[in-house]
Symmetry: C2
DNA sequence: CTGTATCCTGTAAGATACTG
DNA sequence: CAGTATCTTACAGGATACAG
């Protein structure tokens, strides 16, 4: 399942500007945006990435408790998606019963800058909108 | 409607880590992420912002044609959301019939850096995942 | 402990028709 | 032209039960 990648043609389900589009100069940019959003979008993905950035390794059960409100199904699904996108690795430890550690990859860390921007903008935005 | 702002308490509907959360150091960061995502998330919002950044003023009908696949309802809704978040302005021109121009605000342009990061990361990500 | 399978629901988004 | 109203659909996400 990891190796199939969920990556059909575009990396995302979101609307992609068509090639026949008037200004195809921006098409590529919008496509790139869609590709990033595919990794970041949704209710849990980016929060998950944030946690992997801020903390280190985490086990499934820890994540389940750590992430307020997520269920096993969603967590599992999102972890697979992140793994498919090479953002995290999944390591099975031969304990009994087995345990699994997830941790961010070096590549995953390349999201750090973007996420940091997102954090900064959000912090400022809240201040601005609240008053 | 613009002035009600859709901003209840958190700026987003997404899950927010609770105050009682184990590591409340990161709570603020995760909240900030959620706030940004509220502006960026969804099928159309960020694409819309991108267009306003790359192009200049646009009218409703132009946007409708420009954005592959969007319908009037969604466009209207997203524009209101962006206006409520002070990302764009809406100007009614006294033509007959009336026309309306939307354009990004100076504040909206503060998203430029973040979006630029998102574009860059997405561009690279596609290359990486594709091979 | 780490998941998957199944079923169920709520919300995002689309289609269509209509108005100032 | 620039939307809104209404109805419908699709899918993300949740609850529960169960398996290796």
């Amino acid at each position: 399942m990891p190796d199939e990648l969920l990556l059909d043609k575009p990396l995302t389900n979101n609307a992609i500007p068509s090639k026949e589009h008037p200004c195809s100069d921006h098409r590529e940019k919008l496509l790139a945006i869609a590709d990033t959003m595919d990794v970041i979008n949704g209710k849990w993905k980016i929060q998950l990435i944030g946690i992997f950035l801020f903390q280190g390794k985490m086990r499934f059960g820890e994540l389940l408790k750590h992430i307020q409100g997520i269920g096993a199904k969603m967590l599992s699904k999102e972890l697979q998606h992140l793994e498919a996108n090479q953002i995290i690795t999944r390591t099975v430890l031969q304990t009994k019963p087995i345990t699994v550690e997830y941790q961010i990859t070096a590549y995953g860390r390349t999201l750090e800058r973007t996420i940091s921007d997102i954090v900064d903008w959000g912090t400022n935005h809240r201040r601005r909108i609240m008053r």
